[in-house]
Amino acid sequence: MSRRLRVNPIACEAHGMCAELLPERITLDEWGYPLISGEPLEPSLVQNALRAAQACPTFALIVERDRDDGRR
């Protein structure tokens, strides 16, 4: 079971805490909005990713599990 990051672009207000807490996977564009790759998270990063999702003031960052059938 792998986990991926995704962002709800409507909820996102460019606070940028996610990029502070998970710089390995999240960078900010010139307007402060997160750039996230959709690849599965390495197991060593999952804890920090969950922390980053917790820290997001608007709950825009989501750490989701892949469903078993490969669909998200």
């Binding site: 606070h15 805490m17 502070e20 003031p57």
Partner: protein, 240 residues
């Protein structure tokens, strides 16, 4: 046990109530200031956003812990007839009902804020935010409660602390209002006017009110307790 304590001086609980109350006020002040810092999205390389945001959340929770201790010790303190109910239901107590009641109001508001913040993820952002505004309402109520109920309000350090906190919160409100000026001009002007009016009111009221003579009687201390060493008409009792 309590009779002996009464005979020998202000009880331990009285000291704890006063001190935890003062600390709670201070922590709430810092929490509000940090909340504004949060919304202003202030950060430095050494103080990234997530740190300041965590600080805001943790200081707020700590304030609630001290608030809980404050309430507990005031109930346990046998000097004044304060029951646990008085902490939740305002204006029904026997001891300085109005001023104590303000404390219950502030506590109720903060309880709503705390519970909704702990259950944020289940609520939806918009509802959570709407309740969170109540913090601005709870603070002035808490301050007035402190001035009105405190039997040592004339003591220099507590007065200085309270006025200092007032200055910090007024400054935080000003900073918050100025951000995004002049959008929603009506609400912003009302906020500034309200903060200014409240500060002015406090400064004008204090001398003739809590700092004035016979405040204990005027504020609703039960007659049986008046004249004992723990009310503010006594010149030296209660002062550290």
């Amino acid at each position: 046990m309590s009779l002996t304590l009464a005979a020998s001086g202000p009880s331990l609980y009285w000291y704890l109530t006063r001190s935890t109350g003062a600390v709670a006020l201070l922590l709430l002040t810092v929490a509000i200031a940090l909340g504004v810092v949060d919304v202003e999205r202030f950060s430095t390389p050494r103080w990234p956003r997530f740190v300041l945001d965590s600080l805001h959340r943790n200081v707020s929770l700590l304030a609630m812990v001290f608030l809980a201790l404050h309430i507990l010790t005031s109930v346990l303190d046998s000097f004044a007839p304060i029951s646990l109910v008085d902490a939740f239901v305002p204006f029904t107590g026997a001891y300085r009902p109005f001023w104590l009641g303000l404390g219950a109001v502030a506590f109720d508001l903060l309880l709503a804020v705390t519970v909704t913040s702990l259950l944020r993820r289940r609520m939806g952002f918009a509802s959570w935010r709407a309740v969170h505004w109540l913090t601005y309402a709870s603070w002035p109520v808490a301050l007035l409660h402190g001035f009105g109920t405190g039997s040592d309000v004339k003591s220099g350090w507590l007065l200085a602390l309270s006025i200092g906190c007032l200055a910090i919160v007024a400054g935080a409100v000003l900073a918050r209002v100025l951000r995004g000026w002049p959008a929603n001009l009506g609400r912003r002007s009302a906020a500034i006017a309200g903060a200014g009016a409240f500060s002015l009111f406090v400064l004008l009221w204090l001398p003739g009110g809590p700092l004035g003579s016979e405040w204990a009687r005027r504020s609703g201390t039960p007659a049986s307790l008046l004249g004992t060493r723990q009310d503010s008409t006594a010149s030296s009792a209660g002062r550290r």
